[in-house]
């Protein structure tokens, strides 16, 4: 019979046979008849006027079929790429939304900006042709650093924003916060750089578009995290195509981390071009292009202050952040440093007054948008670095200061708009301290010192808000899209089930987790359930996967559809067993008449639904196929405590993470193994941000200096320790599974934990991320010099 104990079980991933045996189908694996290849001519300059583009030589090159520029798109009335979230400035005006043309029109604004596309019979021919496209540039001065965008004399990127300011936005009661600071017992202040990161999914972005002249329809294969949103944005806002004539398929996708949420220029251009040349057009990014043109993450400059009373209770927080948007507004760029950042500044604490002001600026760099955590790692970094520093300044134990300020009663309304439904921060902190053996730390520090090493310990008690919702509230905050999810449960006549979900799996393991949910709810075998995702032609609708929303929002939509199936099944079963519908119960895959031994298995009900001979046709439609849309009433709030222990080699400045403990509360957990995998990945990316990864543009030329794996340091297995993980569970109160989401937690909590440990080891107040060996060594040299002086 069915698999009853699937929830909470580490079932091996159904999709892994496909992936591990090379059976996955990624966009670049798809081969279409008469397929052509696109190469994008990109700007070698950070900022320039495009005076002239000459295609002639390229058009004569072998194999070249077409060359298109921004002028061609303008003539065809192709619009710019839209931004999906409108932020309103403190002055009441909408944010500045400069045009974001898929191919440059008159100006280029970052190295890698799209200038022209060359389409040829082979990729090499397209690339060779690309080198023959002659572009005359008038190079302009550029500004690449977030802190310099608004400085007097900084070159302006867009006419509508001459001071490079997209918006100034604020949250909280400034007057009340200022007043609290004026009379505070102690104020801790820090200045932070939240370093710019380059996502680097294993599979580079790719798109393959084909136009079907007979049907006047399009199919776009694309490495995307949300094919329906991609289709909606492309058809409704950019190309003006009829939505029902465009099918977007995001097949197997090799990682996203946010970078594949967005509608990119390349996707639009190949789709448009496929009709112009009446042949399929494929583009797959080279790794260098990924570095240059995938949306980057973070890039904040922040001044933050925490006011405390004499007992170490937080009385107010004041935060000023400048956030880079890059050269153009990417799809969700504007909401990341606002809605997904300032709202998280309460953290796990009862800080009663919080004020945050965010200035978003344009810089001559790749656009910046959501990257694993998206605003929440930045907020956690601010809160947890402040808290740890305050504890040190006030000579309080860092765990104790957190305990004194924990929120302990739920639901809890924060001063920054969120309503936490549930949590138990004491539980995750306590467990993390036990697992990390915090009590044994002084002895370990002493032992390390005997070996000439500096050992430090740091905490991060993070909170995140997942499954952004409900749609109407998001709408009132500026969202230009809904934030629900859709699911469909199709029961086949034999009782096997295909589930269609609007969530998208690009490594998360939905095909297993969602199947566990459905199989356990229907009491059928795991192998009898398949999950279909990533195809607007098969899935009814979807908002996609980002913000750790899949299980909480997508999973709930599926549960709702399953429950509709069960409700209909009860009617059919009641008819078959000649019982009243109210007396029919469903459990463990069997419909039963309460109090009798009458029962019918699920599969028989399914068969009856499709072979409706003995069936109440007068009052019930045949078939067993149900849809559901789910719009959550609130975010979910995963939280946890991380404890990091580092050892620094003072001779070289190299930091080794010797121990990392993560105790998370993700609510109910469906598959602990998959959750652990998500935490491992998130922690590794968080450690990467803290110690290794730092995107750098040359200040003068605007060139991307960290444009390859040789210079941009992605974390590798030997850079991280074997993690110590555990979970605590306070079920989410407002979804039927009690789930909260786990995809981003690691990346949210880890940077602060690492930097708290590292500053502890070094005895310094602050250190900039990534804390490279030289930065650490220099910090130690400075300390030595101060002591000597």
């Amino acid at each position: 019979m069915g698999d009853m104990n699937l929830i909470g079980t580490s079932v091996k991933r159904k999709e892994d046979y496909r992936f591990l045996t090379g059976g996955g189908t990624y966009t670049d694996d798809v081969q279409l008849d008469r397929q052509t290849y696109a190469y994008f001519v990109r700007s070698p300059h950070a900022h320039a006027t495009v005076k002239r583009i000459d295609k002639d030589k390229a058009l004569k090159a072998p194999g070249v079929i077409a060359v298109f520029t921004g002028e061609d798109l303008a003539t065809a009335k192709v619009a710019g790429l839209p931004c999906g979230w409108l932020i309103t400035d403190v002055n009441g005006q909408p944010m500045k939304e400069p045009a974001h043309p898929p191919l440059a029109q008159g100006k280029v604004r970052y190295v890698g900006d799209h200038v022209a596309v060359v389409i040829a019979d082979s990729y090499l021919q397209a690339k060779d042709g690309g080198e023959l496209v002659e572009v005359d540039y008038d190079v302009l001065p550029a500004v690449v650093n977030v802190g310099e965008a608004r400085k007097k004399g900084a070159p302006g990127l867009h006419e509508i924003a001459p001071d490079n300011t997209c918006y100034v936005w604020a949250l909280g009661d400034k007057a009340a916060v200022d007043k609290a600071f004026a009379s505070a017992h102690h104020v801790t202040q820090l200045d932070f750089v939240n370093n710019r990161l380059i996502p680097n999914a294993v599979e580079p972005r790719a798109a393959l578009a084909s136009y079907n002249r007979a049907e006047d329809s399009y199919t776009l294969y694309v490495a995307s995290q949300n094919p329906h949103v991609e289709r909606l944005l492309m058809t409704a806002f950019v190309l003006g195509l009829p939505e029902h004539k465009v099918r977007v398929i995001a097949p197997d996708v090799g990682g996203g981390f946010g970078s594949k949420i967005y509608l990119y220029a390349e996707d639009v251009v190949v789709t448009w071009a496929s009709r112009q040349i009446n042949r399929p057009v494929k583009w797959t990014a080279e790794r260098s292009e990924s570095f240059l043109s995938d949306a980057h993450g973070r890039d904040h400059l922040t001044h933050a202050e925490l006011a405390l009373d004499q007992d170490g209770k937080f009385v107010a927080m004041r935060v000023q952040t400048t956030a880079a948007m890059g050269a153009y507004l990417s799809t969700f760029a504007s909401c990341i440093p606002t809605i997904l950042y300032a709202t998280l500044l309460a953290g796990q604490y009862t800080t009663p007054l919080i004020y945050c002001e965010v200035t978003a600026v344009f810089t001559n760099t790749a656009p910046v948008d959501a990257y694993r955590g998206a605003g929440r790692p930045e907020a956690t970094y601010v809160v947890e670095r402040l808290v740890e520093t305050a504890a040190r300044e006030m000579k309080l134990d860092p765990a104790e200061i957190r305990r004194r300020n924990f929120i302990r009663e739920f639901p809890y309304q924060t001063p920054v708009a969120l309503l936490y439904d549930t949590g138990n921060y004491e539980a995750t902190l306590g467990e993390a301290m036990k697992l990390a053996d915090v009590a044994g730390f002084p002895a370990r520090k002493q032992e390390a010192a005997a070996r000439g090493k500096l050992r430090g310990l740091g905490y991060a008690a993070y909170i995140e808000a997942c499954g952004i919702a409900p749609s109407n509230v998001a709408g009132s905050l500026g969202a230009r899209a809904g934030l629900f999810e859709a699911g469909e449960v199709r029961v086949h006549p034999t009782g096997k089930v295909t589930v269609f979900t609007g969530s998208h799996s690009h490594g998360q393991g939905h095909e297993t987790t969602f199947a566990q949910v459905v199989a356990s709810r229907l009491g059928i075998a795991l192998d009898d359930v398949d999950i279909v995702h990533g195809d607007t032609g098969r899935v009814l609708f979807g908002m996609g996967t980002y913000g750790s929303r899949s299980i909480a929002v997508g999973g709930t939509a599926i549960v709702k559809a399953v429950d509709k199936v069960i409700a209909k099944g009860k009617k059919i079963a009641a008819h078959l067993m000649e019982a009243a519908e109210a007396d029919v119960e469903f459990a463990d895959g069997v419909f039963k008449v309460a109090g009798t031994d009458k029962e019918i298995p699920f599969a028989q009900v399914a068969l009856t639904a499709y072979v409706p001979h003995n069936y109440p046709l007068g009052k019930l439609e045949p078939g067993l196929n149900e849809n559901a849309f789910y719009d959550p009433t609130n975010f979910t709030f995963p939280a946890g405590t991380y404890v990091c222990e580092v050892e620094v080699d003072p001779d070289t400045g190299r930091t080794e993470i010797v121990s990392f403990t993560a105790v998370d509360d993700f609510g109910k957990i469906i598959n602990p193994m998959i959750v652990a995998g998500q935490v491992h990945g998130g922690l590794t990316q968080g450690i990467g941000q803290a110690l290794l990864e730092g995107c750098r543009y040359d200040k003068d030329s605007g060139q991307l200096v960290t444009g390859s794996m040789l210079d941009y340091c992605m974390p590798r297995a030997d850079d991280v320790p074997s993690f110590k993980l555990d979970t605590k569970e306070t079920p989410c109160t407002h979804n039927p599974l009690g789930v909260k989401g786990c995809g981003e937690a690691g990346a949210i909590g880890a940077p602060a934990a690492v930097m708290n440990a590292l500053t502890d080891a070094l005895g310094v107040r602050d250190l900039e991320m990534p804390a490279t060996p030289e930065r650490v060594w220099r910090a130690l040299q400075q300390t030595k010099m101060r002591k000597a002086a």
Binding site: L710, D711, P773
Partner: protein, 266 residues
């Protein structure tokens, strides 16, 4: 990558002939630098002469005084070789520290030193052990081989056939890795052999170099303390995104000290 003509040489003489016949042809050893540069279109040789099939360029042999490694021997082969581990374990360890597994399986000792990347490991090994580079034309002492950034004493048409290392009394290689590329930010090979102590540094300067002051101090007393106080000048050292010249200069002392420590088995 641009299109190019591929030639597979069957012998060193054949390779020389192919080079002579095709102007601007490049020799292909393990390809770990050249192929990557070609893929990025930073290099575009019209012809490649592949040395991979030439049996006479491969192999490791040793006697009591000399270890000889064929130019086309891969880093992985050197790292795993019992012969190398027995005669000069420091060299096996150096090879094992190069790049990643894929690089070690493809990359070759001859290719590495002919390329003379300022951050490559082998130049420190060859210079620090006082090896001799054998070519189809002559024998070149290590001290005469490395001429500058990506520059060697090799002449057009000259092919490295093998490298002969005198077996030292003791030696060790200490490397401070670039965490991204796993090249050396600073790597120091220290050896003590028949002709005294040699200290060779890679990663820090435009090309591998020796530190005579350290050698002198170690000749007097082979102990980590002997080099602990000796600083190289930061002036003229490499300075880039990953490390300033000042930091590199500091690391030279630290890595030299560690190499001596390791050579002493401490």
């Amino acid at each position: 990558m641009y299109q190019f003509n591929y030639h597979k040489a069957s012998s060193v003489a054949d390779a020389v002939a192919l080079l002579a016949r095709n102007s601007d042809a490049k020799l292909l050893a393990g390809g770990q630098t050249l192929i990557a540069a070609m893929k990025l279109r930073l290099a575009a040789p019209p012809d490649l002469v592949d040395l991979g099939a030439i049996a006479e360029l491969r192999g490791i042999k040793a006697d009591a005084t000399t270890l000889s490694i064929g130019a086309m021997t891969s880093h992985a082969e050197v790292a795993a070789s019992k012969v190398v581990t027995q005669s000069i374990p420091a060299l096996a360890a150096l090879a094992a520290s190069i790049g990643d597994r894929m690089v070690r399986n493809m990359g070759t000792i001859g290719g590495s030193i002919a390329n003379n990347d300022p951050a490559a490991d082998y130049p420190a090994g060859v210079l620090g052990l006082g090896a001799t580079v054998n070519t189809n034309k002559r024998k070149i002492a290590a001290d005469q081989f490395f001429k500058g950034m990506y520059e060697t004493a090799l002449e057009p048409g000259e092919i490295i056939t093998s490298i002969s290392f005198p077996v030292p009394k003791r030696a060790a290689y200490a490397k401070f890795k670039n965490q991204a590329s796993r090249y050396a930010i600073v790597g120091v090979l220290v050896s003590e052999g028949g002709s005294g102590v040699r200290v060779a540094v890679t990663g820090a300067g435009p090309s591998a170099f020796r530190v005579p002051e350290m050698e002198k101090a170690l000749n007097a007393k082979f102990s980590p303390e002997s080099v602990a106080g000796i600083k190289v000048a930061a002036n003229g050292l490499n300075s880039d995104l990953h490390a300033s010249s000042e930091y590199r200069a500091h690391l030279v002392t630290i890595m030299a000290k560690r190499a001596v420590q390791a050579a002493l088995g401490k």
